[in-house]
Amino acid sequence: MLRFVLRRLILLVPVLFGLTVMMFIIARLLPGDPVGLAAGPNATAEEIAAYARDFGLDQPVTVQYWRYLTGLLQGDLGVSIFSRRPVLDDLIAYLPATLELVFAAMALAVVIGIPCGLAAAVWRNRWPDYASRVSALAAISMPRFFLGLLLQLTFAMWLFWLPLGGRFPIILEPPPTVTGFLTLDALFAGDWQAFVTACRHLALPAIAMCLSPLATIMRMMRASTIEVLQQDYVMTARALGLSPRLIVFKYVAKNAVSATLTVIGLYFGWLLGGTVLVETVFDWPGLGLYATQAIVSQDFMPVIGVALVIGLLFMLVNLLVDVLYGVINPKVRYA
């Protein structure tokens, strides 16, 4: 087990390496002139050149890449040519917001999706099943950004129930940073009101985000539950007089959840990358927004940084899922 984890961790290195190469290639494909943008509208050619020199952009790509790699090994992710801030600092500032959103969405998706999927499978071909299937498909088909807009329109613009966007009201003092998750920090600080406020801000974006993983988890859960329900051992359990509740909640659920687990892992990565749209809609100061702005201004160190962080997180989460999978699935563990 430990060896497995170590092996996987070592395998991360080449993938991350490939990632930097790929992003560098894409960055080089960009025909634009990020320096010109950063140097400001009134810069002369010499100033622009000086600017480029500042960032080593006058060097050949290979040299730039080499510098980047050596920097990376020392924990230096480069500098945004636009803000001149170190990318690492920015990532540290933006990441918690995204993670909080993703975790909230994922938690919603899991907490609602798994029981619904289970229910749909158990009452297969009856109304809970139809209802959940139609709504799952509709949820998957609903563009997140459109849903976000509709939610804003309804709850923030017409009903005035929830805030329109942002993470925390600026007038209020945010709770002291411990985890970077405002909700948790508020709880740690014992500030109930701040917690409620943070949750109110989190609500709409998290709902907009969670819908499609929720639907997928629900469908996956339904499918795997149905598959499990058709397994011979379920028939045996019924034939030997185990109560339906025990069968479903203990025997079936565990098998079905383990099949759903991989989807959750994959979706986590997908969500990390997918925050872009929701963050744009809700002005959520997270990685997605950061990446969008970097991409639009062709500031590619942040783009590479974001790709690296998301890639790393994605792989770590999937590693975690694989480990969990092994814990739930004795066969894998002992194989």
Partner: protein, 291 residues
């Protein structure tokens, strides 16, 4: 075993059609998709204000709320939103088709070769696919689209670039599974060459999952196209594209909600249609997903 004299294919088709028809949802999907395809073809011709589709403006009539003359109202330039949404169907369908076709062709070829021959080709492909999995598709597509500049074709390429590994993975997995089927061993035992085995015995048997994935992916491709448009890296004006329309009009909410809501709804209906159809097809074509 049936004793009917009709050919096996006709029987299989009838059986599939029966299963498909039984689900009213699948039928709804089929109807929606059909409608979308028809609109994609004739949309620009039946639009009430064809000149608005090619960029005509009517600034005297800005922001008219929905009425008989303008069922979906007019936008910031006085263009008829209904005409724009109608014309957007073609763009979305074209883009979706483009993405899915490129993805399928490239992915199937790569996946089949990797799965069938294994070795270093497999290694390289799988590492590439891993890479793709770790970089979120949307960010990759955004970066590529930003690099290539706006435009329908560029957008299709940008998305397809992050799309084919999905097919490659699917096909590779299926090929590896099929490779172990007894009838494939049987073919090898009678001396069939590798290419014969691949094209005659393996590939024909994985058409169903590919078709299912394609129809499900159509919806997602349309969604991704719209997402890029929404971020603002979409088509060039004056091409009416749903995501771009939505992205422009979101600043006019809530007062001029119709400029945003109708393109969004069109998007939703189209994606929903393809997803319903894909789901129905999967029930029919993919034996493992059978209920």
């Amino acid at each position: 075993m049936t004793e009917m004299t009709e050919s096996a294919r006709a029987y299989a088709f009838r059986r599939g059609w029966f299963r498909f028809r039984q689900s009213s949802l699948s039928m709804l999907g089929a109807v929606l998709v059909l409608a979308i395809l028809v609109l994609a073809v004739i949309g620009p011709w039946i639009a009430p204000y064809p000149e608005h589709i090619v960029g005509g403006v009517d600034t005297a009539n800005r922001f008219q709320s929905p009425s008989l003359a303008h069922p979906f109202g007019t936008n910031e330039l006085g263009q008829d939103v209904f005409s724009l949404v109608l014309a957007g169907t073609r763009i979305s369908v074209l883009a979706g088709l483009g993405v899915v076709l490129i993805g399928t062709i490239v992915g199937t070829l790569a996946g089949a070769l990797a799965g069938f021959f294994g070795g270093w080709a497999d290694e390289v492909l799988m590492r590439l696919a891993d890479l793709k999995l770790t970089v979120p598709g949307l960010i990759l597509a955004m970066a590529v689209a930003a690099a290539l500049g706006p435009g329908l074709m560029n957008m299709i390429i940008a998305i397809a670039l992050s799309w084919w590994p999905g097919y490659a993975r699917l096909v590779r997995g299926e090929v590896i599974a099929r490779k172990e089927e007894v009838y494939v061993t049987a073919a090898r035992a009678i001396g069939a060459s590798p290419s014969r085995v691949l094209f005659r015995h393996v590939l024909p048997n994985i058409v169903s999952p590919i078709v299912v994935k394609m129809s499900l992916d159509m919806g997602f491709a349309i969604l991704t196209v719209a997402s890029l448009g929404f971020i603002g890296i979409g088509v060039r004006p004056p091409t009416p594209e749903w995501g771009t329309l939505l992205s422009v009009s979101r600043s006019y909410m809530p007062d001029f909600w119709w400029t945003a809501v109708f393109p969004g709804l069109a998007m939703f209906v189209a994606i929903f249609g393809f997803n319903l159809l894909g789901d129905g097809l999967r029930d029919v074509l993919d034996p493992r997903a059978r209920r």
